[in-house]
Amino acid sequence: MAHRWGMVVDLDKCTGCEACVTACHAENNIPTAGATEAGRGRAMHWLRVERYWEGDFPDVKVKFKPVMCQHCDNAPCEAVCPTYASHQTDEGLNAQVYNRCIGTRYCANACSYNVRFFNFFNPQWEKPLQLQLNPDVSVREVGVMEKCTFCVQRIKSGKSAAKADGRELKDGDIQPACVQSCPAGAIIFGDLNDHESRAARLTHSPRGTKLLEDEGTEPKVTYLQRQSWNEPDTQ
């Protein structure tokens, strides 16, 4: 059976440290915009940690929510792209073909999660940062959209490594950069078609929810909600 890649984010474990964000930038050659341009809304974070807080100081409750492309089964970005730059692969990835993109930015508008990013300028890295670029990932030019790929380069190399060893791919062989770098182990990646995989099992957890579920986009990322440990009647 074909793979169907999915992800689970345990919000109870997320500390909001943003190691995943840094790892994502390093792995995927995501340019940094600089303070001025970032202030103008030109920062690119394929993965971001959203912060929401309730209450007044000192009784503040902060909630962290890592948000990346949800790789929707019913993706609004795919239908609106005039050139098929945004499309669904056989393995359920919501892929972006940079060379097909002509930069209408319609996909970014249609995306309910705002997880698509546009190259407003040609990317630049301050020396010597250009030396740490990942050779497995193409650098995107001005005028195209880009977004989280679930580290498709790691999926590919994981599959070829398994094939070279003449064995089946097992759960945990493939780790996107964010999964690998999360110190709390809050992000779990795996094949949703493999019912034994951790990701597939956790997807069906009673704590599992989808982001903006009522939009009907059918995301492949599941969020495990926080438990309220301090509520009186649960103690």
Binding site: A79, V80, T104, N114
Partner: protein
């Protein structure tokens, strides 16, 4: 031929083609400079990347798409209005139709450049066209942008035909009254028009067919433009009312543009004898009707959103109603509804300066309407962490101003090569005062008398 040479009507209407004042050259120079500035701004944007514009994450569409919708809206001035007036055989239409049809063609050309200007890679815009290519993929026909591409091209082709067909007899009139190179050029354009009965019959038949065909095309074009927004699941974009709302708004702004163009022509080309106050009065009544219709649509749209009370939509609703965009929103309501209804409802206030003033206000209001549809929705999408804002940058503003200059420039140049009021249609009408009802039979005979 002698008969036409002594015709004061043709003399009047051809005069602008033969005599050009210094003021004209001055105005052309100024406008052309502004247009060149716009071209330079675009070149700058292509060179450095579209980041020189104010668009950002999450407001990925800004001034360019606002202008796109605005100009496509203006294009409804012409062909649609002129086709409807032709079909209902409104006698007062005769001096108005060509002024209107020209606006359509030029506004469409200008409007259609904006989606290209706004592209990340504008040099690849032709990838929207289905053609056999090395990439071996077709355009995605599920994308409203592809629908746009086809709708606008269809409308542009139709409008060009609708404009050029009734110009043929006029080209023949100019051919017969000129000599040398001008005679050769207009002779070619006249396509061998001799004014035979068969030719007149064919022209009438062709115009009837075009007038019927162009109306559904015009309605569909702005509906499809509205689909760019209503198909996407962005708060306050995803609305079933957008199709008719956009078409009504388009006709509304189109009439305003037509009134301004006609007033300018009347003054500069001294066409007082042809463009009567009654023409402006009739158009003003149409403008009033559209203003009321526009108000009705906005009321329906706003009320249903407010009553539905969905959190993501309410964020956009309040941002426009009393938040960040409130000043623009209430300016829009003032310009599009309060002023037009307040002035045009009263015969005493419905004077030429009053009507032109209202029309200018309507253009401002309708531009704001498009802006307020596009930007606040994108700036307030469901995840409040990703809320943003938008402010236009100089590049966008220069390009926008340049397109207004381009419209004026094209219009001026056009009025120098083609009589802006259709000579033969005026002759057919035998110049009755527009207020006087002429009987149908006389009009039929007039057609044959008008043969050059």
């Amino acid at each position: 031929m002698n008969r036409t040479r002594n015709n004061p009507l043709a003399d009047d209407l051809i005069r602008p083609l033969l005599h050009t004042s210094v003021w004209f050259y001055g105005a052309v120079l100024v406008l052309a400079t502004i247009v060149l500035c716009g071209a330079a701004a675009w070149a700058y944007q292509v060179w450095y990347g579209i980041g020189v514009a104010g668009i950002n994450w999450p407001v990925f569409w800004g001034f360019y798409l606002t202008n796109f919708v605005f100009w496509i809206g203006i294009s409804h001035a012409g062909t649609l209005i002129s086709a409807i007036l032709r079909l209902v055989n409104a006698r007062w239409r005769r001096p108005v139709t060509r002024c209107a049809e020209v606006i359509t063609v030029f506004a469409l050309m200008i409007g259609a450049t904006f989606p290209i200007i706004h592209l990340g890679k504008p040099w690849l815009f032709f990838w929207l066209a289905p053609y056999p290519s090395a990439r071996e993929i077709w355009p995605n026909f599920r994308s409203p942008l592809v629908w746009d591409f086809f709708a606008i091209n269809t409308y542009l082709t139709g409008s060009l035909l609708f404009l050029i067909l009734p110009m043929i007899p006029d080209f023949a009139v100019i051919r017969d009254r000129s000599s040398g190179l001008r005679r050769r050029i207009y002779g070619t354009l006249a396509l061998g028009w001799q004014g035979t009965t068969t030719q007149w019959h064919r022209l009438e038949a062709a115009m009837q067919i075009m007038a019927v065909a162009i109306i559904p095309v015009a309605v569909s074009v702005h509906t499809i433009v509205s689909f760019d927004f209503s198909m996407a699941h962005v708060p306050m974009w995803h609305s079933t009312i957008f199709g008719p709302y956009f078409v009504a708004g388009a006709i509304f702004s189109g009439i305003a543009a037509l009134i301004i163009a006609m007033a300018a022509l009347r003054r500069t080309l001294r066409l007082h004898a042809y463009l009567h106050p009654l023409h402006f009065d009739n158009l003003a009544k149409l403008l009033l009707l559209m203003s009321l219709l526009w108000g009705y649509f906005v009321f329906s749209e706003r009320l249903t959103v407010w009553y539905g009370n969905q959190p993501s939509e309410m964020a956009v609703f309040w941002a426009t109603q009393r938040g960040e965009y409130a000043s623009l929103y209430w300016t829009m309501v003032f310009c599009n509804f309060i002023i037009p209804v307040g002035i045009l409802s009263f015969r005493r206030l419905r004077t030429l300066p009053g009507i032109v003033l209202v029309s200018c206000g309507v253009l401002v209001g309708m531009w704001l309407e498009r802006f307020l549809i596009i930007v606040p929705g994108l700036a307030n999408k469901p995840l409040s962490y990703s809320w943003g804002t938008y402010s236009p940058q100089p590049t966008e503003i220069v390009i926008m101003v340049a397109t207004f200059a381009a419209m004026a420039l094209l219009y001026m140049l056009f009025s120098k090569v083609v009589p802006i009021i259709s000579i033969w249609e005026m002759k057919v009408g035998n110049q009755p005062h527009p207020a006087l009802p002429a009987d149908e039979e006389e009009e039929q005979q007039g057609l044959w008398r008008a043969r050059p």
